[in-house]
Amino acid sequence: MKRQEKIKERIADIFDFPRDVVMDLPRLTAIGSRQIYVENHRGLIAYDEEEIRISVLNGEITVRGSKLRLRSVYTDDIYIEGNISDIAWLGGGEK
């Protein structure tokens, strides 16, 4: 983890700020197994009806299932609908 990020983390710890706000970390909101709302993404890596891969800070999020579709895409958020069976975090993590 870079020095700047460490400082941000310390500040978030001290003031009890949400880390997605301070450190620009992704936030996932799942509504049952039908909808997922991803904030602070870095773009779409791959998209088909069975798997959607989304680039986030220090890795990627993979959503698997059937009949998946992008309900909406915007600069900071992606809204996915479908029969979601699996959500995975891939990547280096925070070092």
Partner: protein
């Protein structure tokens, strides 16, 4: 989501993109701040929706990605308005339709009259039409309550009328007056309800048969009704006068009364051919009692009844009065009896209390009160 609502109002474009990586196109669009929704991916590309303003900006992007972009149509309120702007006749037709519907909805399209028995429907309908209750009339201008009042005046045979409107349907419900079941075809007289002396007489209708100062007996005709070639003339008027009412009361120096104790015994019998067969219960062991008998005939077997006797125990109470107390009680009883006979709206003028000297053990009192009252009452003339 709000952007979808905005898309419906301001309009949205359905776009088909072919010949490039869909992910790359989406990322590039979002990087330019363009919102895409309802994104579906296909083997040769993708389809999505975006707002009208973003659609123009997408043209710059698709050249950079080398994609082929095709618009598949527009939708939304803005688009509908643009269409309507081009099709003015359609718009005018739409407004005309609602205008005609509104205008015709304010008219009466059906009038129904119900409840007529002796009245003819023709004159009633004619009167209603004169008042404005007719087909194709605008009901907003009609005051149904006022029309109802007009109908009472126009048709005295009507006892009750109600005009109800439900939408374009008007229903008039009428109840006619019942013919007087007592009068028949004879005129009504005023007769004396009590014996008395006449002090005032006022004849409104009919022939007076008595004068002020005359003594009349109960049932005597005071004002006579009569028949004319146009119909019956009933007697009407007031006849006031003096009358007298008497009351009697007694009270013994030793009075025996019975008061229920609350105990009771019920005995049931079968009544068969004039014979009583006891079914349940036995006679009471009470020294004093009241008895009530109820007989219920059988519905299935005529001649068979269930007789129930209820014995209610009473206790004897002996009350001793002094002669003064007995006199007072007897007077009160006599007074009460006399007053019970006096009709309402009468003026009590004098009262006379007399003792009847018979036996020492029982005090007997008589009260006579003089009353000014309405002597006359209506009666049907059975003669002539």
């Amino acid at each position: 989501m709000l952007y979808r609502l905005m898309g419906l109002i301001l309009g949205s474009n359905r776009v088909r993109v072919k010949g490039c990586f869909p992910e790359k196109f989406i990322n590039l669009a979002t990087a330019h701040g363009i919102r895409l929704w309802n994104i579906r991916i296909y083997a040769d590309g993708l389809r999505f929706e975006t707002d009208t303003f973003s659609y123009k900006r997408l043209w710059g992007i698709h050249h950079a990605t080398g994609c082929q972009m095709v618009s598949e149509g527009r939708r939304g309120l803005w688009e509908v308005l643009r269409t309507l702007k081009r099709r003015k006749v359609l718009l005018a037709g739409f407004f005309c339709f609602w205008l005609v519907l509104w205008y015709m909805g304010g008219m009466i399209w059906s009038v129904q009259i119900e409840g007529l028995e002796n009245l003819q429907i023709g004159p009633v309908r004619e009167h209603l039409e004169e008042q404005g209750v007719r087909l194709h009339a605008r009901y907003g201008r009609l005051d149904f309550r006022e029309i109802e009042q007009e109908m009472y005046i126009e048709f005295p045979e009507i006892a009750w009328v109600a005009i109800d409107r439900r939408g374009t349907y008007v229903k008039i419900r009428i109840v006619e007056k019942e013919p007087d079941p007592i009068q028949g075809d004879t005129p009504i007289d005023i007769i004396a309800a009590y014996d008395g002396i006449i002090t005032d007489i006022l004849v409104l209708q009919g022939i007076p048969l008595v004068e002020t100062g005359m003594t009349v007996i109960k049932g005597e005709r005071l004002i006579s009704g009569f028949k004319t070639e146009h119909g019956l003339v009933n007697a009407a008027g007031t006849v006031r006068g003096f009358s007298w009412f008497e009351g009697y009361g007694e009270c013994g120096l030793e009075e025996v009364t019975y008061r229920p104790t609350g105990h009771q015994v019920q005995v049931s019998y079968l009544w068969l051919g004039g014979r009583l067969v006891r079914l349940r219960g036995s006679g009471p062991n009470f020294k004093h009692y009241d008895i009530s008998i109820e007989k219920k005939p059988s519905r299935l077997f005529p001649g068979l009844s269930i007789v129930t006797r209820v014995y209610r125990e009473t206790e004897q109470i002996v009350t001793y009065h002094t002669p003064e107390e007995a006199l007072e009680i007897a007077t009160e009883r006599a007074m009460r009896m006399a007053h019970q006979q006096v009709p309402e709206n009468s003026d009590i003028l004098t009262s006379e209390i007399n003792r009847i000297p018979l036996r020492e053990e029982i005090i007997r009192m008589r009260v006579r009160i003089e009353v000014k009252l309405e002597l006359g009452t209506e009666n049907i003339d059975k003669g002539d």
